[in-house]
């Protein structure tokens, strides 16, 4: 393990621990409004200051981390699995299957997502708890985010299908399903890993943007996405640097994961 990997590991452990110790580190909670101290700079009581409604930013960052760090990877996993199944199986089966799957993927890419998401929101009841709302959002992201990866996987799987080791395995009498699971899927790993890691930050930001459609985390619960939204109207970087903490945290976490995983990939390859 190199120094960087150690650092990455330490950063992740620290972030995860802090987010789970949120109740203890930030006892005021993420929803309490200190209405006499709105938009305050960092102080002894509010380490990262307060937001526009006087809520402790440190608490919000910790609780937001908990939400996003659990749900974004879960959604990324879902979309990666879907991409693997749809792209991978179609590429492996080839022929009409492949054409059908690519047609579905193209259709998916060309659909007017905005309207579909609006419909999805319309189907949801209005009285859902913030947690359910954010979970549904990440589920939707997971269900929708597989398309571009599926194309790559389909092409890769089609190549693998004609490879010597798959032919050798077929000649050994191994049946189709096991061929796919044991011989095709493990070789799609690099593409799958890439899809997984790219999806996480994309999903975190998408969740924030879906707030416009009434999806995403609902008030007063925070997520990284909703915290990043605070940066929208900021005029200059220098004035209120503490507002950038959620962004810095996102960058640190994603980078750390990638440093750790690039190693795993090297081993697997």
């Amino acid at each position: 393990m190199s120094l960087w990997q150690k650092l990455a590991c330490a950063a992740l452990v620290l972030v995860v621990l802090a987010s789970f110790a949120a109740n203890w580190l930030a006892p005021a909670g993420y929803a309490h409004q200190y209405r006499e101290a709105t938009d305050a700079p960092p102080s002894r009581t509010h380490w990262l200051g307060t937001d526009e409604l006087g809520r402790d930013r440190f608490a919000r960052v910790l609780y937001g981390t908990r939400i996003s760090l659990l749900l974004a990877p879960a959604a990324a996993l879902l979309s990666t699995l879907l991409a693997a199944l749809i792209g991978g199986i179609a590429g492996y089966l080839g022929g009409a299957w492949k054409r059908a799957a690519m047609a579905v993927t193209d259709l998916f890419l060309s659909l007017p997502w905005l309207f579909l998401l609006i419909t999805a929101r319309a189907l949801l009841p209005l009285n859902v708890s913030p947690l359910v709302s954010v979970m549904v959002t990440f589920l939707l992201l997971g269900l929708l985010g597989w398309t571009s990866a599926a194309r790559v996987l389909c092409a890769s799987a089609a190549l693998l299908r004609g490879s010597d080791f798959v032919r050798q395995a077929r000649a050994a009498g191994i049946n189709g399903r096991r061929l796919f699971w044991m011989h095709v899927l493990p070789n799609l790993k690099p593409v799958l890993f890439a899809q997984f890691w790219i999806s996480i930050p994309v999903f975190i930001l998408s969740e924030a943007n879906l707030g416009i459609l009434g999806l995403g985390v609902a008030e007063p619960m925070p997520s990284w996405g909703s915290l990043l939204k605070e940066l929208e109207g900021l005029v200059s970087v220098g004035e209120e640097p503490w507002k950038f903490v959620p962004l810095i945290l996102l960058v640190i976490v994603v980078t750390s994961f990638q440093i750790l995983l690039s190693r795993q990939q090297e081993v697997a390859a």
Partner: protein, 551 residues
């Protein structure tokens, strides 16, 4: 923030001293204006393409702005005093039955192309205005009953107009009617206002030039307007507008939101103006529609006066104004803000924030607290959702504050932001919502323009629209009072009726009025004579007497 009072007031001075001072001031002003008036050009933004230059067809803000600056009207509502002032008409008289108005007109006035103005032009304009084939949006407010409008030209300077039915607030309506020439070959481009359209580049700009034939003069007999031209940039993007204002490429911004206000104020406090509460209100209301797809027990809460009053009482309006609008808003009392000098009911009491009283009232109605959660008689937890349009940060923030306020009396609120079309669909088509926060924009002072909101049969009676017969006694009473004020010719009787409407609304809280936003604007220091007001057009209502220095 206090209102900027730009009026010169000095009660301690004796009359002769004041006169002497006035002469001195006059001398100073006239010295200044001579240098200022040279090449004075004002620049500001229209937020959309003007759809028409025909004053009778105006239906959008951009065209409205051009009509305000170019059109000559018989009667002008002074945006500062909110009083009617003579324009092209020296005086007017409304008949006792409210159906007829007669004007005595100014003589020696000409259109911008030199065509003389007479009573025939007024008759022509009114006929055009009421022509059913033309569908003039401006004419709609005059259509109080079936039948045709008769115009009678008595002399070159005298005319009377008779409507088929009484029209409420008749004289003030002529503030919107720009008089057109019956004879001028330039048709609607011949105007009677201080400016005339000079150059129009679609998608880019409209340039208005000084109308040399404009009749008005200042107190010293100098011809108005002072400005040589007004350059209107067509720019829908508010951020660009703000940026260009900061670069001093624009002289005014008519309406700022509180966030932008603070941003500008931080760097140059002398250019921003807070004219105090405007007519615009923000309100919360509950769905009282009988066939709405919501649980019956919730509908019972929402239709209960005590419940609505308790909610209203549990909302901390001072915090809404302070936290969300940074003080640039005032707690609202009812449909009309105190800024509406004549129509506001001054006897309305401010809503006192008191969660304790609210809770007590609810307990009196059979609600009870259990482990910090409020439950109704049947044991249902009091939970409801508030929807508002996504992207409106201030409404979202108000919803979150209200969520927190109501948690204190055990009510759990879910805040949902929706895209505007979905919100409107739920509000007007499916009625699938529980509570909404939205705003009402008021441009007119007269309550007659709000008939469509208050009549229970109206589609825009938001909390329970299109009722065949009023479902509650108080709605029946509001219907009656609104009709009464619409048909009464006597202003005081109308005021009495509408005062009562405001009281009923305060009692029943069908709309829980939250705040009135302040009218915020920005005016460059190079503009002289600016006195931003709360009424549209806030900064350039007195464009004819504005001056721009050092260009």
């Amino acid at each position: 923030m206090k209102r900027h009072n730009r009026q010169f007031r000095c009660p301690a001075l004796s009359a002769p001293t004041a006169k002497a001072l006035a002469v001195l001031v006059f001398c100073l002003v006239s010295i200044c204006t001579r240098s200022l008036a040279q090449g004075g050009g004002l620049r500001f933004c229209l937020h959309a393409e003007p759809k028409t230059f025909d004053p009778l067809k105006v239906d959008d803000d951009a065209s409205g702005a051009i009509r305000y600056l170019t059109g000559g009207v018989l009667v002008r509502e002074n945006r500062q005093t909110q009083q009617l002032e003579p324009g092209l008409a020296l005086s007017w008289k409304v008949s006792s039955d409210g159906r007829e108005i007669s004007f005595r007109l100014r003589s020696g006035v000409s259109f911008s192309d030199g065509t003389p103005f007479s009573a025939e032009d007024v008759a022509y304009t009114v006929q055009q205005l009421m022509d059913p084939a033309l569908h003039s949006p401006t004419g709609d407010v005059f259509r109080s009953g079936a039948g045709s409008v008769e115009t009678k030209v008595i002399s070159q300077t005298q005319i009377s107009i008779r409507f088929p039915a009484p029209v409420a607030g008749l004289a003030a309506l002529f503030d919107q009617v720009a008089i057109m020439s019956v004879r001028s070959p330039k048709k609607e481009m011949a105007v009677l206002g201080p400016f005339m359209v000079g150059d129009y580049k679609p998608g880019s700009s409209v340039v208005l030039n000084r109308n040399p034939y404009y009749w008005k003069t200042d107190a010293q007999g100098r011809k108005l307007p002072y400005l040589d031209s007004i350059h209107l940039d067509i720019q829908p993007n508010r951020d660009v507008e703000l940026l260009r204002f900061k670069r001093e490429e624009l002289d005014l911004i008519n309406s700022l939101d509180s966030e932008y206000f603070d941003k500008v104020s931080a760097s140059s406090p002398q250019v921003v103006h807070d004219a105090g509460p405007s007519l615009d209100s923000e309100q919360l209301w509950f769905n009282q529609v009988a066939k709405a797809p919501i649980p019956g027990y919730k509908r019972n809460w929402f239709r209960s006066t005590a419940f609505r009053r308790a909610i209203s009482q549990a909302i901390n309006r001072d915090d809404l104004s302070r936290v969300v609008y940074h003080g640039h808003a005032q707690p609202a009392l009812g449909p009309f803000s105190p800024a509406n000098k004549f129509w506001f009911n001054a006897n309305l009491k401010p809503q006192i924030y008191s969660p304790e009283t609210a809770l007590k009232a609810l307990q009196g109605e059979g609600f009870r607290m259990e482990n910090g959660t409020l439950k109704d008689k049947e044991g249902n937890e009091v939970v409801f959702s508030i929807i508002t349009n996504a992207g409106n940060k201030q409404r979202e923030h108000m919803a979150v504050l209200i969520q927190d306020d109501l948690q204190k009396i055990g009510i759990h609120v879910n805040v949902v932001t929706l895209d505007f079309p979905s919100l409107i669909e739920r509000m007007t088509q499916t009625f699938d919502y529980e509570a909404i926060i939205l705003g009402l924009t008021n441009v007119d002072l007269d309550p007659n323009n709000e008939m469509n909101v208050w009549l229970s049969s109206s589609e825009n009676h938001q909390w329970n629209p299109s009722q065949k017969t009023p479902e509650t006694e108080w709605e029946a009473e509001i219907d009656r009072l609104m009709r009464e004020q619409a048909s009464a010719a006597d202003l005081n009787k109308r005021k009495e009726a509408f005062d009562r409407v405001q009281e009923i609304v305060a009692e029943q809280q069908p709309f829980i009025f939250l705040i009135n936003k302040n009218a915020l604007s920005a005016v460059s220091t190079s503009v002289r004579g600016a006195a931003p007001v709360i009424l549209w057009p806030q900064t350039y209502w007195n464009a004819e007497s504005l001056m721009v220095a050092g260009k």
